[in-house]
Amino acid sequence: MNLKREENILDEQLMTRVGDGDRTAYKMLVDRHLRSYLAFAARIIGDRTEAEDIMQEAFVRVWRNASQWDGGRNVLFTTWFYRVVMNLCIDVKRRRQRKPVSELDEAANIKSNTPLPDAYLSDKQMAEKVGEALEYLPDRQRIAMTLCYLQGLGNQEAASVLQISTSALESLLVRGRRRMADLLKAQRQEFLKEII
């Protein structure tokens, strides 16, 4: 009964309790959100180990900032936390060596009318190809695609995370999808050449 009542508490209320030093509330926040935000970080970064480090830092920030959390400022905890994780991911990516743009262009410029070899690809291979294609997208397009198609956020919330208008987000999604389709097609041609 008590557990059921605890489950219905809003994230923002939990955040206020964390601000008062409530460790149970903090654990509840971690339980609720670690999985989906870890997946988000891994999709943006492309490396699960680094994503785990990012999540540790992100939750330390939750603990530190909880005392300044203002329940009346009309910001959802999830939106705020997506921003925290997103900014940490961008910092990590900036520190990394970037891949040369020419590789991307070469991959995108391969064109062929050969039938698509989806039947040969396992789910794992397909996921790897999508992950590689996501890596090649510009940061904002990748984040927009990840938030909307992989994290299941609505356009309005995703736009709020990126702090842009909904129409700007839709534009990012259209360009991201187009770019990704080109990249995946090019990758499949390479795969086909390998198996033939």
Partner: protein, 108 residues
């Protein structure tokens, strides 16, 4: 170009493949890490109490020095070295007072 339906299918597969449960170890690390980085508060942590006291202590010490300086040195400069005019006025007052005493004594 790849059609939208196929792209959605790819994205869905990627979503399922990358949605893995976090390890127990990570969960524990997160809980422990925030505990370690927590700032200790209250009288149970005297070193932090002293940290908080330093600005107050500096303020009180400066106030005391200022009070002692004003209390001692400014009073010496103003009160203990009378000017010539002050001596003259004091003498005059003494003279008048003595004269009054004599006059009063003579009357009686």
């Amino acid at each position: 170009m790849m059609n939208d339906k196929k792209l959605d299918c790819y994205l869905r597969t990627y979503q399922l493949e990358t949605d893995q449960a976090p390890s127990r170890q990570l969960m524990d690390d997160i809980l422990v890490l925030s505990e370690q980085r927590q700032k200790p508060q209250g009288l149970a942590f005297p070193w932090q109490w002293f940290d908080l006291m330093i600005p107050k202590t500096v303020g009180w010490v400066l106030t005391c020095f200022l009070g002692i300086y004003l209390g001692l040195f400014s009073s010496v400069e103003q009160g203990t070295v009378p000017t010539d005019e002050e001596y003259f006025s004091y003498d005059q007052a003494q003279v008048f007072l003595v004269e009054d005493i004599y006059v009063e004594a003579g009357d009686k």
